[in-house]
C-alpha cells in the first residue's frame, strides 16, 4: 500500500485493518509461546540453546585462532601441539596402533575414543610438519620412525626412538591389529572391556 493510497483509505477501514493486524499479532505471539512451552521444546531451548548463548558470552570476544582451535579440538589439540613442538618436518612420527592406546591408557582417551589417531585426522592437523608412518608400512620404512606415543601409567608420552628402545616399542606395537579402528568412544569401550 503506497502513502498516496493511505491518504484515501477510509479511517474506519484503517482502524479495522490495524485491529485485525493486532489480533493476528496477539494470536501469533500466543501460538509461538505455546510451541516454545511444549516440554521438549522448552527443555531444548533452556538447556542446549541456552548453553550455546553461554558459550558465546564467555568465548565470543576471543577471536584468536589458536584459542578457538584449542577450545574446539579439545583433547586432540594437546597431542597435536606436542608433536608440532617436538618434531621437525624431516622426522617420522609412527602412529601407534589404536588398540595399544586403548588397552594401556583408556582413561586418557575414553571421551574421544582416540579418534585423533586416525591417520587422516593427524594429517589434517599436522600436514607436512612431520612425516606420518602407519604400522602397516614395510619394516624398512618403520625403521625410519623417530617419534611415537608411548603409554605409561595410563598417561601418554611422546617417545623419541633410540637404538635401545626401538625393538621393545616395535615388539609391543606389533601385538596389536593395525587395521582396527574404534571410531566412537563406545566402540573403544567395547574393545577395552573385551578380553586382552
Amino acid at each position: 500500500m503506497t502513502s498516496s493510497n493511505n491518504t484515501s483509505v477510509d479511517p474506519k477501514e484503517r482502524r479495522r485493518f490495524w485491529t485485525v493486524q493486532i489480533i493476528y499479532l496477539a494470536a501469533s505471539s500466543l501460538i509461538l509461546l505455546v510451541i516454545l512451552y511444549l516440554p521438549r521444546n522448552q527443555n531444548w531451548l533452556t538447556t542446549t540453546v541456552e548453553r550455546f548463548y553461554t558459550q558465546h558470552y564467555t568465548l565470543g570476544k576471543q577471536i584468536d585462532i589458536a584459542t578457538r582451535r584449542r577450545e574446539g579440538y579439545e583433547p586432540a589439540y594437546a597431542y597435536i601441539e606436542l608433536i608440532q613442538q617436538r618434531c621437525q618436518p624431516n622426522d617420522y612420527f609412527l602412529i601407534p596402533p589404536q588398540q595399544y592406546l586403548i588397552r594401556n591408557a583408556y582413561q586418557a582417551g575414553k571421551s574421544t575414543g582416540y579418534a585423533w589417531t586416525y591417520p587422516s585426522v593427524l594429517y589434517y592437523y599436522l600436514g607436512k610438519s612431520v612425516h606420518l608412518l602407519d604400522m602397516t608400512a614395510p619394516d624398512s620404512l618403520l625403521q625410519r620412525a623417530t617419534h611415537t606415543f608411548w603409554a605409561l601409567d595410563n598417561k601418554i608420552y611422546l617417545l623419541t626412538f633410540k637404538d635401545h628402545n626401538r625393538p621393545l616399542v616395535m615388539g609391543e606395537f606389533k601385538k596389536y591389529d593395525p587395521h582396527f579402528f574404534a571410531y566412537t568412544p563406545q566402540q573403544a569401550k567395547v574393545y577395552y572391556q573385551s578380553k586382552p
Binding site: S120, Y124, H179
Partner: protein, 469 residues
C-alpha cells in the same frame, strides 16, 4: 566481514540471481532472493574445477576473477526481465504483517547463535575433517585440487573410508571461503557459507509456504520445523547433508510448481537443483527417478513424447555431476588409491524381506520416531497429514507425499545394499530431506488451504492469489 568474503557472497548471489530471473523460477521477491543465493552457491562450486582444468592456481586472485566473470555473465541474463522483477518485488508481495514479527524474532534468535557457532569454532565433525575440509584445506595450501591428500597421504595409509571422496560441493565452498578469509579473522575456518545457505533456504521455504498459506500458518509451520534439535545442530556443524537437503527440497518444490503450472522455467530450475543435490551427496541420484516418474505420470496421457523427453532429460542432467565426480575426476583425473572401495554394494540372498523389514523397523526406532532428534515435528506432521487425509480425501499435494514415502523406502534399500550406508549416520542426516518436505507438504494440503481461506475471509480479504510464473 572482510571485503573478500563480502565479494564472494555478493558474486555468488548475482550468479544465481541472473539465472533464476531468466527462468522466472520464483513467484515472489523473497523466494527469488533465497533461490538466487542457493543457485549461486551451487553454480559457483564448479569454479575450482574450471581453474584446475585450465591449469590456473587455486588461489584468491583467479577465484575472485572467476567469480566476478560469472557474476557479470549472469547479469546479462537479466535482459528483458525488468517487468517480471518489478512485478514480483511489488510491495504487496513483500510487505510483512505484524503477525510475522514474533516468528521472525524467534528464528533470528536461533540463527544468530547458529551463525556464531559456525564462524567461531573450527570444523569438528570427524566426517568433515577427514573429508571435505581435509580436501579443501590442502587444495588451498597446495593451490591444486590434486593435492597431497590424494597423491601422498591416502596411498600411504591403511585405514581410510570414503569421506575424502564425498561429492564435491562442500569441499568447493570451503575452498572459496578459506581463500577469501586468508585463514585469519572471525571467518578463518571458512564455513560461514553454511549459515548463508541455511538463511537462503529458510527464506525460500518460508516465501513458498507464505504464498500457499496464510503468513500466520506459514510461520507456525516453519517454527515447528525450526524446533528440531538435530536439524538445528547441523546448521553449524559442517557436513554435506544440510546443503543436500536444501537443494533436494528446492528441486522438489520447483518440480511441484512445474507440475501445477506446466512452466518450462520451473522445470529447468528444478532439474538444476536436483543436479546440485547430486553434486552434494552422491546417493541422491537414487532418489531422482521419483522426479522422472512424477513427470511421466503427470504428462504421459496428454503428451507422451514430452513426458518421456522431460523425464529422461532430468535424469540424464542429474547423472552428469555424478559421473563427472565419481568417474571422470576421481577415477580419471585423480588416481584413486588402490585400496579405495567406493560405492560397493552387496546382494542379499537369504531372508531378504525379513532383513528389509528389520531395516525399516530400525530406521523408525532409531531415527524417525526419536524425539531427541526432532522434538514434535514428526508427530505433528503425521497428525496433521492424517487429519487432512481423513477430512478432505483429495489429491492435493499428493506428489509431495510420494516424494516423502519414496525417499524413505529408497533409504531402506540403500542401507540394506550399499556398503558404508547406515541408519545412525546416513539416514539420520538424510532424514533432513524428508523433514523439510513434510512441512512443505503440510503447507500444500487442503487442510491448510481451508484454514488460510477461513483466515482471509475473516479479515475480509480476497482469497485469490495472483501467481506469476
Amino acid at each position: 566481514m572482510t571485503l573478500a568474503i563480502t565479494f564472494v557472497i555478493l558474486a555468488q548471489f548475482l550468479i544465481g540471481f541472473g539465472f533464476v530471473t531468466r527462468l522466472r523460477a520464483a513467484s515472489n521477491g523473497f523466494s527469488l532472493l533465497g533461490l538466487s543465493m542457493l543457485a549461486g552457491l551451487g553454480i559457483s562450486s564448479g569454479l575450482p574445477f574450471v581453474l584446475e582444468f585450465i591449469h590456473a592456481s587455486i588461489a584468491i586472485a583467479p577465484m575472485m576473477i572467476g567469480l566476478g566473470t560469472l557474476a557479470g555473465l549472469s547479469l546479462l541474463l537479466l535482459r528483458g526481465r525488468l517487468a517480471y522483477l518489478r512485478e514480483i518485488f511489488a510491495w504487496q508481495r513483500l510487505s510483512l504483517r505484524l503477525c510475522e514479527l514474533p516468528f521472525l524474532g524467534f528464528w533470528a534468535y536461533l540463527l544468530f547463535i547458529s551463525a556464531w557457532k559456525t564462524a567461531w569454532y573450527p570444523n569438528l565433525p570427524f566426517d568433515t575433517i577427514v573429508g571435505p575440509d581435509l580436501v579443501a584445506t590442502f587444495a588451498v595450501r597446495e593451490h591444486t585440487l590434486v593435492s597431497s591428500v590424494f597423491t601422498e597421504h591416502l596411498p600411504s595409509v591403511s585405514i581410510f573410508s570414503n569421506q575424502p571422496f564425498y561429492a564435491p560441493f562442500t569441499a568447493m565452498q570451503q575452498i572459496m571461503y578459506l581463500l577469501a578469509s586468508h585463514g585469519t579473522g572471525p571467518f578463518a575456518f571458512g564455513k560461514i557459507w553454511l549459515t548463508i545457505l541455511v538463511i537462503a533456504f529458510g527464506l525460500f521455504l518460508y516465501a513458498e509456504l507464505r504464498e500457499r498459506t496464510h503468513p500466520l500458518l506459514a510461520g507456525l509451520l516453519v517454527t515447528l520445523l525450526a524446533c528440531s534439535p538435530e536439524l538445528f545442530a547441523y546448521t553449524f556443524l559442517l557436513q554435506t547433508d544440510w546443503a543436500n537437503a536444501a537443494f533436494f527440497a528446492a528441486g522438489v518444490i520447483l518440480l511441484q510448481r512445474h507440475l501445477e503450472s506446466e512452466k518450462q522455467g520451473m522445470f529447468i530450475a528444478s532439474t538444476l537443483f536436483f543436479a546440485l543435490a547430486c553434486w552434494t551427496r552422491t546417493e541422491t541420484i537414487l532418489f531422482v527417478p521419483i522426479a522422472s516418474l512424477l513427470l511421466l505420470i503427470n504428462t504421459l496421457r496428454s503428451s507422451p513424447k514430452k513426458a518421456i523427453v522431460r523425464a529422461g532429460a532430468l535424469f540424464i542432467t542429474c547423472l552428469l555431476p555424478f559421473v563427472f565426480w565419481n568417474y571422470i575426476f576421481l577415477r580419471g583425473y585423480v588416481a584413486l588409491p588402490a585400496n579405495a572401495h567406493l560405492g560397493t554394494y552387496h546382494l542379499i540372498v537369504n531372508d531378504y524381506f525379513s532383513k528389509l523389514l528389520a531395516t525399516y523397523t530400525s530406521m523408525n526406532e532409531q531415527v524417525v520416531f526419536d524425539t531427541d532428534y526432532w522434538n514434535y515435528s514428526v508427530y505433528v506432521f503425521l497428525a496433521l497429514a492424517l487429519l487432512n487425509l481423513i477430512l478432505f480425501r483429495d489429491k492435493q499435494g499428493l506428489p509431495i507425499l510420494v516424494w516423502i514415502f519414496g525417499t524413505y523406502v529408497l533409504f531402506g534399500l540403500l542401507i540394506l545394499h550399499v556398503d558404508g550406508a547406515n541408519i545412525a549416520y546416513t539416514f539420520r542426516r538424510g532424514f533432513f530431506k524428508i523433514l523439510l518436505l513434510m512441512y512443505f507438504y503440510l503447507g500444500s494440503t487442503s487442510l491448510f488451504q481451508w484454514l488460510s481461506n477461513w483466515l482471509y475471509r475473516w479479515e475480509g480479504q480476497s482469497t485469490s492469489f495472483h501467481k506469476i510464473y
